[in-house]
Symmetry: C2
């Protein structure tokens, strides 16, 4: 069959936005770009879509090649398309996002492109429109974390309420009233109080909690409750 | 500056998924495709990204050209990229979605490409992966409608609770218990009971309600309430 005539073929890039949590802070993984323009400047992990791969496959390939990371669950976020976003030639960029436990993937990270975790409030200047991508991803992450238990996936098996509160405060860059937070989190019935206390941060100590796995997926989703729960689609469908 | 070498340039398409509500049913707007392959088959409104436009601009242009519709608020949803999704040549497709009031846009619709509203449960066969796109859009619409007052934008100034319930039941293809629905909707404090009744559907009649505009944007969003409301980003950021 002949091709579509009089149409413009352009480059499609993939950019991977990898947020990490190291137990107390959220960080962003960046590399030093390996080719011109902007060579050696800090960049998201990016590359071009190849003829025989889907965007999901390209994102996995690019992330692995540039950082060593494998089996990271990324979601497609948004396709960026300002005609002048890449000064070399027209390129649209499909951004992918993940939030991972930094400790868990520590051994995989390679140094080939100087992959480095930056604290969210100390990001360097980024190339092209990568700052815009990161800002959108941060907003989406905050939105999702308020509706789904994605932060709970980053908790150790036992944790304290001050630890959990700090996770939320850090992501939303805000202070949350301690009594309100405690009351509301416990009212979800997702947490199980353990017998031991963590005494590392105060003399009085703070009880450890663990997650009731049978409860938490059901309970966390606070969707408008006149929609029957079994009719509610998932955010990622 | 020279171009990126050894990279593949491909076509980028835009496909517009326009859901409409006609007062009682949800429908999908389709056209008969104007060129080969699959000429005259039912299709989403699609076209190719041009050299000097963004994807948002392309979506507006394509929708206007094929249906006459203007000033429709569309959101970018997802970019589809299976290597064989278009049999002519490799093309990735960026899908845009909107939900509109069919009556409001009735006069704009042109007949150049036989634009036609199909009831959601009577869709014809669609070309390429357009059915997959529509299914994802339907899931996202249900998800958003459970969290944000988007359906309320489609209500007339005065409406009855059976009318509102039917809107939700139709979107989720489910039956909702009437007493539960009434109790939960009224508990949001967003509705104002009017003095008149609608007596067209029953002898007893059903009271009309209107929306308390100062309340509804604030009240509707049922996000995890330990995040302070003013710190919550919007879904579309």
């Amino acid at each position: 069959m002949i091709k579509y005539s009089n149409q413009t073929r352009i480059l499609t890039a993939i950019d991977c936005i990898i947020f990490g949590f190291d137990g107390s802070d959220y960080k962003l993984l960046l590399i030093q770009r390996g080719f011109a323009p902007e060579k050696e400047k800090w960049s998201l992990m990016g590359g071009f879509l190849q003829p025989s791969e889907s965007l999901d496959e390209a994102a996995d390939r690019v992330l692995k090649k540039l950082t060593g990371l494998e089996n990271v669950y990324m979601e497609q976020m948004h396709t960026f398309s300002k005609p002048d976003r890449d000064p070399v030639e027209r390129t649209i960029a499909v951004a992918y996002v993940a939030l991972i436990d930094i400790q868990k993937y520590k051994k995989q990270i390679s140094n080939d492109f100087h992959a480095h975790w930056f604290p969210m409030n100390e990001l360097p200047n980024l190339i092209f429109d990568h700052e815009e991508m990161v800002n959108m991803a941060k907003s989406r992450l905050r939105y999702k974390a308020a509706l789904h238990p994605i932060l709970f996936e980053l908790l150790p098996a036992k944790f304290t309420l001050p630890h959990l509160q700090a996770m939320y405060e850090s992501l939303y860059e805000t202070n949350i009233d301690k009594r309100n937070f405690t009351r509301k989190v416990l009212s979800t019935n997702m947490l199980v109080k353990e017998k031991e206390k963590d005494k590392t941060s105060s003399k009085k100590g703070a009880f450890y909690y663990s997650i009731d796995k049978t409860q938490y997926k059901d309970q966390f989703q606070t969707v408008l409750n006149f929609i029957p729960r079994n009719e509610m689609p998932n955010a990622n469908e």
